[in-house]
């Protein structure tokens, strides 16, 4: 019988912060951290006897209190009062922070209450926008280059030129009257690239944007913190407003995903009636709980919707709840409000909201419309900020693969974009109907030149990211290790095969909307397999069949070209075009272009992919012409040599019909037809087209010539 163990007695430690979003850490008597399930606002733990340090954090700064748990003191309540709250750094000059100065908070208040600049030409106004940039550090300067843009990217306000400020007090700001809507705030370039993020103004509200610079002369251009607040029209920035510091605390808590709220304090969420941003922050933080309160969250959502309308951040709260709560999904009124692609065409302000919308887009395919700003920010998102910000100018809407456009043209719009993309895939997959992502992953693993082609300018960064995610062995970052350790290359491939290539994982890991991801996957498929730059074996075989005019000897002659190198090669890939590929490209054009062959276009397409002419380091239309002429001479010689002993007669002026000029070329007449002499027996069979096939340079060239 096992001896029964007496469990060590445990005691209760309750830690209570002044607000819901103060982070709490608990260390034991040996200064080792105690693991917490949630860490914001309130923590209640059952612990063995001992001394404990409780740290209340705001940002990186903390206030520490000690407690002892023992039989004489089985419960310890540890809290700090408002005066003990740690100072932290905030962009908005709110009370009790390390970065607030009266010489900045007072002017901020004054300017926010001033008469706004009149609406811009073409604007009727109706919502107010308050922008305040400051450097709170000693002997600091202000960065230049903060501008406001409309959704199309047109600059509508330049803070440097039209803002008012006080260089001595290290601030500059502006108060504008704008049409209610979404705007792009552009921040000064750092390390060569500016960033942008979305802001919303709402009728009857003042959107307040505070920006704080970094510390130190070497980082003068950097804006390290941004706070966004909203106040009802006419109230301005109220330094003394009790919830201003709470809003900043909630924003800081939102900045780190490890922060999870403890007990619900209704006063924080109710405060949203006056402070929509606090409502959004608190709502998003509440949704981090393992079991969020659906009634409370729905109330937050409905109130926010009533206050500021269907901003993407508000919809994100609704979607996050709907994804987890069946009753919400069954509520037609909420779901109707949530299915709002027009609102989600513009990204939310907060990253947390963006993540919720991406998750929703897995099942709600049309939620993030293609070509919208939300669709175009994927792949350029800035890290390390709670805001949705992207680097550089917004990329132009991506051109859809021609196949997608074809399907779109042929199908009704009932299925929306998702239907079109799915239709395109069904067209490719044919009867197999295989899921796109696993199929693409498999095909990528078997394409011998995929790594090279993916690095050419024909592919977008987004397509590359999706391809490397699907098949990491193609990622150039691993090239050296794969070469040095074949075992590593094998592991990369098998890891890719073992991983889940489902859409939800892809969207979550790559931070892309559903249609964006599928569009990128289709783009890869289209460019690499459907319409590659260099014709594939099937295309070449068809080419040979068509151009040999059912003459075995001509087919053999053409196939033999596949074994002969041209002068045109790609150094990195160690890839040389063979002569069959070359004449295909010359007469039919690159499959990537999908149009009639043109010398200039072909030279440019090959150049773009890094092909050069022998050692020249370049490739011009003249080089392409020279190569054609060389192949022509070779074919003339071969045709002459081959026809004589086999009893063929060559037609008059036949040399001119061997590889004719591009203008004189008609499909199927690349070579002259041979006539058999009367004494010879006519051929009965057409040349086999499936025997051996045509080898491309990347494939095994060991196919057998057909013997007759």
């Amino acid at each position: 019988m096992r001896a029964s163990k007496t469990a060590a007695p445990r005691y209760r430690l309750n830690a209570h912060a002044p607000d819901e979003h103060t982070r709490i850490e608990v260390l034991d008597g040996n200064m080792r951290p105690v693991k917490l399930e949630h860490n914001l606002g309130d923590v209640s733990l059952q612990l063995p006897a001992g001394v404990y340090s409780v740290r209340f954090y705001q940002g990186q700064n903390f206030t520490e209190k000690l407690a002892a748990l023992m039989p004489e003191m089985p419960v310890a309540d540890v809290s700090i009062n408002l005066s003990e709250e740690p100072d932290f750094a905030t962009a908005a000059p709110v009370p009790n922070t390390t970065t607030t100065h009266e010489w900045q908070s007072d002017p901020a208040r004054k300017l926010s209450l001033s008469v706004p600049k009149p609406p811009l030409p073409g604007h009727a106004g109706g919502s107010h926008f308050f922008l305040f940039l400051r450097n709170p550090f000693e002997a600091g300067v202000l960065p230049h280059g903060v501008t406001l843009h409309d959704l199309n990217g047109v600059e509508i306000f330049d803070l440097d030129q039209h803002g008012e400020g006080d260089p001595q007090a290290q601030w500059i700001g502006a108060h504008l009257d704008l049409d209610p809507g979404a705007y792009r705030l552009r921040l000064p370039p750092v390390r060569g690239s500016f960033s942008e993020q979305i802001l919303f103004t709402v009728a009857g509200w003042q959107t307040q944007v505070f920006m704080m610079t970094a510390q130190g002369p070497e980082r003068q251009q950097e804006i390290t913190r941004i706070s966004i607040l909203m106040a009802k029209g006419g109230l301005g920035f109220d330094f003394d407003r009790p919830d201003s510091r709470l809003t900043e605390a909630a924003l800081r808590a939102l900045g780190s995903q490890e922060n999870i709220p403890g007990a619900v304090r209704s006063e924080m969420l109710w405060a949203k009636f006056e402070n929509p941003m606090l409502g959004i922050y608190a709502g998003l933080l509440h949704l981090r709980r393992a079991r969020p309160d659906p009634h409370l969250t729905r109330e937050v959502f409905n109130n926010l919707l009533r206050l500021v309308g269907p901003l993407p951040d508000v919809l994100a709260i609704g979607w996050a709840l709907a994804l987890r709560d069946e009753n919400t999904r069954a509520d037609a009124s909420i779901m109707t409000a949530l299915r709002n692609p027009a609102a989600c065409a513009i990204p939310p302000m907060l990253r947390e909201s963006w993540d919720h919308l991406l998750r929703a887009s897995v099942d709600e395919r049309e939620l993030i419309p293609r070509g919208s700003i939300s669709d175009r920010i994927g792949g350029r998102l800035v890290g390390g900020t709670p805001w949705v910000a992207w680097l550089g100018d917004l990329p132009a809407p991506r051109a859809a693969p021609a196949l997608v456009e074809t399907v779109a043209a042929k199908t009704s719009s009932a299925g929306g974009l998702w239907g079109i993309l799915s239709g395109a895939w069904r067209l490719i997959a044919g009867a197999t109907g295989a899921a796109l992502l696993p199929k693409l992953a498999e095909k990528l693993s078997h394409h011998p030149e995929a790594r090279f082609w993916l690095q050419t300018p024909r592919f977008t960064d987004l397509e590359r990211r999706v391809a490397y995610w699907l098949q990491p062995a193609l990622d150039p970052r691993f090239a050296g290790a794969c070469e040095a350790y074949p075992e590593f290359a094998r592991k990369l491939r098998s890891a890719a095969n073992d991983r889940t290539t489902d859409e939800a994982t892809l969207l979550a890991e790559l931070n892309l909307g559903s249609t964006t991801a599928l569009g990128a996957a289709l783009g890869i498929y289209y460019k690499l397999f459907t319409n590659p730059v260099i014709p594939d074996a099937t295309r070449l075989e068809t080419f040979v069949t068509e151009e040999s005019q059912q003459r075995t000897m001509l087919a053999r002659l053409l196939r033999r070209l596949a074994k002969k190198p041209s002068h045109i090669h790609q150094v990195q890939m160690k890839r040389r075009l063979n002569l069959l590929e070359f004449i295909y490209l010359y007469y039919r054009g690159s499959p990537a272009d999908g149009t009639k062959a043109e010398l200039e276009r072909l030279a440019s397409r090959l150049c773009e992919s890094g092909f050069v002419f022998d050692e020249k380091g370049s490739l011009t239309p003249a080089d392409v012409a020279a190569q054609q002429s060389e192949v022509q001479q070779e074919l003339i010689r071969e045709l002459e040599a081959a026809s004589m002993p086999r009893g063929f007669t060559l037609p008059q002026n036949w040399q001119a019909r061997v590889l004719p000029t591009l203008q004189g070329y008609t499909k199927g007449e690349l070579l002259p037809l041979l006539e058999r002499k009367a004494s010879t027996r006519p051929r009965q069979k057409a040349p086999p087209t499936s025997q051996g096939g045509i080898a491309t340079a990347g494939q095994n060239l060991s196919h057998k010539e057909s013997r007759q």
């Binding site: 200064m31 890290g383 390390g384 050296g480 290790a481 590593f488």
Partner: protein, 337 residues
């Protein structure tokens, strides 16, 4: 059976050439200083043959180490023993250079390699690399130190380096200590010290490895090192209005770094506000076991004695309910009872 040896894999990268990463000034020096401590018989005491093949400092033309070089280093280390066999007793991993945090991976820090560029970031996930060696129980103890930022220029896709082997049940006994210069989404800093540029975290780390206070048993363990890093970095400087705070994604296990040392003590100056027949000192980290300081003196109106640093204690009046709680995190502590 021969005693298992210790190993170290050390990387320092200053020479970044591709935007947006500019050159650094102290990362290689930090790595070199760490190696000096590793090789010192009074320090890490790690054989040179177990450090040098696994050391990579960036070359001046910024051509290496790239991500593949890093993977090759890890592969090379694994080759030191057949699959499933232990390689050594302890592994030190030290990475200094630019750093990033992959999206959503709160406990991860990536060391940016020289091939990183704007559109395609190349980084070695430090924790993942250490975990893969932990999960396969190739060492008894794994220590990871990363002196790099945890802010991403671009939001980075997480990725898995598939060099893991079959996990080993013995992995649960492997002790880990991971320390990062900064928290998720924050920057690490270099600062001039003694006329040369140094990573603040690395400098304090190496100081701590040499001189962090010991525990009551005369051991310098990762617990003391952790406290030392937290305390000293907070003293060092502020960045954008807040203290510098290191992060410890794995610090629950206690690893003994040095022993047989004189314990570092805090001097407690206790003022007695009421007469007492005596006080007792209880160890708050050891179920309130009574502690008997051997050097109690009784200056007028109080008491003076020493206690090991880095712990919590309760000091209690033996004849009443009066008590006070202290933490020995400073050399001199003034308290009243």
């Amino acid at each position: 059976m021969a005693t298992l040896e210790d190993y170290a894999l050390v990387v320092g990268i200053d020479d970044y050439k591709n935007p947006p990463y500019g050159p650094l000034l102290g990362a290689k020096r930090d790595a070199t200083d760490f190696i000096t401590w590793l090789k010192d018989p009074a320090g890490g005491n790690v054989p040179e043959k177990n450090i040098d093949p696994f050391t990579k400092l960036s070359d001046e033309d910024g051509s290496e180490p790239d991500l593949s070089d890093m993977i090759e280093l890890l592969m090379l280390l694994r080759k030191r023993a057949p699959k499933g066999k232990k390689i050594g007793r302890r592994l030190y991993l030290f990475f200094s250079g630019h750093g990033v945090s992959p999206k959503g991976e709160l406990d991860e820090a990536g060391l940016v390699t020289v091939d990183a560029q704007d559109s395609l970031d190349a980084f070695l996930p430090g924790k993942q690399s250490a975990d893969q060696l932990t999960e396969t129980a190739r060492f008894d103890e794994v220590l990871l130190f990363m002196d790099c930022c945890r802010v991403s220029h671009l939001l980075l896709d997480p990725f898995k380096i598939p060099i893991n082997e079959k996990s080993d049940a013995a992995a649960q006994n492997v002790k880990r200590f991971y320390a990062f210069a900064t928290g998720y989404g924050n920057t690490a800093r270099e600062k001039e010290h003694g006329g040369v540029m140094r990573g603040i975290f690395s400098r304090i780390l190496i100081d701590g490895l040499k001189s962090a206070p010991t525990n009551a048993q005369g051991q310098r363990t990762t617990t003391q090192l952790r406290t030392y890093l937290q305390t000293e970095m907070a003293k060092e400087t502020t960045l954008d209005g807040e203290k510098l705070v290191p992060k410890f994604p794995a610090a629950d296990d206690e690893i003994v770094l040095a022993e047989g040392l004189a314990p570092k003590m805090s001097v407690v100056h206790l003022t007695l506000t009421q007469p007492t027949a005596g006080v007792e000192v209880l160890d708050g980290g050891n179920n309130f076991t009574p502690v008997q300081p051997s050097d109690v003196t009784t200056p007028p109106g109080g008491m003076r004695f020493t206690l090991p640093m880095g712990k919590g204690y309760v000091i209690r009046d033996m004849n009443s309910a009066r008590m006070t709680i202290i933490k020995t995190d400073q050399e001199e502590i003034h308290e009243s009872l």
